[in-house]
Amino acid sequence: MKPLVVRKLIVDERNELFDAQGMRYIEFPSEFEGIRSFTAKVLADCPEHFLEDNLLEQQLSEIIKNGIKHGNGCDPAKRLKVWYDLRKRARFIVEDEGSGFADLENWNDFYLRRQTALYNQDFDAFLALASWRGPKSDDSDGGNSLIAALEYWNGGMIYNGARNKVGVVRWFSHGSD
């Protein structure tokens, strides 16, 4: 039986994923209705094979949603900042103006319990832990976006010290154009 390996959300203010040199920049108002169109705008000239049908769009829209909804609380006075680089790999930095992801350690504990239940094939426990429910979760929060994100962003997913900025990278086996 393979050993249980559980990834974690990591805080690292000085991580190289926050080096925005050479990256393109765009910012958006914190409008919930705009989340998918903002995502499409960032990916407008993305190399086709990075898209993986619409998987990249889906994963990026989750990060944009987290920033707009949970970070900025859909406050129209607050902006969401996005740096992006679609050369060689898909790399993004997304920063909101919120107070940061205070429950990050609790989320890591939740994820460890969830994955342990799955590893032990305790499906009743796993089903009960299938979705993260934080203090501000509502019906439109699936509670699983960070779980998929940790798997999808295979080059890293790092939070800054204030936890209101995340850097992510996905590499593709096809390499660059």
Binding site: N54, L118, D139, G142, G143, N144, A148
Partner: protein, 109 residues
């Protein structure tokens, strides 16, 4: 997103067919439609996602809630036709492991 209801088939399942994108703006409609059927006493419900081409975390959350509800109510809930990106998203979030899936439907005449 569009949702259509099929009559009970020969296996005793009623089927909700979902079409389009199941995302943060409309996934609640899937929850509502399926919960309505369970509340009406449907004992065997199938959700056919072969027409869904986009599924995000809100859609996955809706699926999780339905699996939890069906289990709590002692109902049988099955899924069919999960492919493409929606399948990848369900694999990334490990949720595919708890879904009972039926084989893909044969092409209709």
């Amino acid at each position: 997103m569009e949702i259509r209801l099929d009559d009970v088939d020969t296996t005793g399942f009623e089927t909700l067919r979902v079409f389009g994108e199941c995302d943060l703006y409309n996934a609640q409609r899937l929850t509502t439609a399926a919960q309505e059927r369970l509340a009406k006493g449907v004992k065997r419900l199938r959700i056919d996602l072969s027409g869904v081409n986009y599924l995000d975390s809100t859609g996955v959350g809706a699926i999780i809630r339905l699996v939890q509800s069906a289990k709590a109510m002692g109902r049988e809930l099955r899924f069919r036709g999960i492919s493409g990106t929606p399948r990848k998203v369900l694999v990334l979030s490990n949720i595919i492991t708890i879904l009972k899936e039926d084989p893909a439907e044969e092409a209709r005449a």
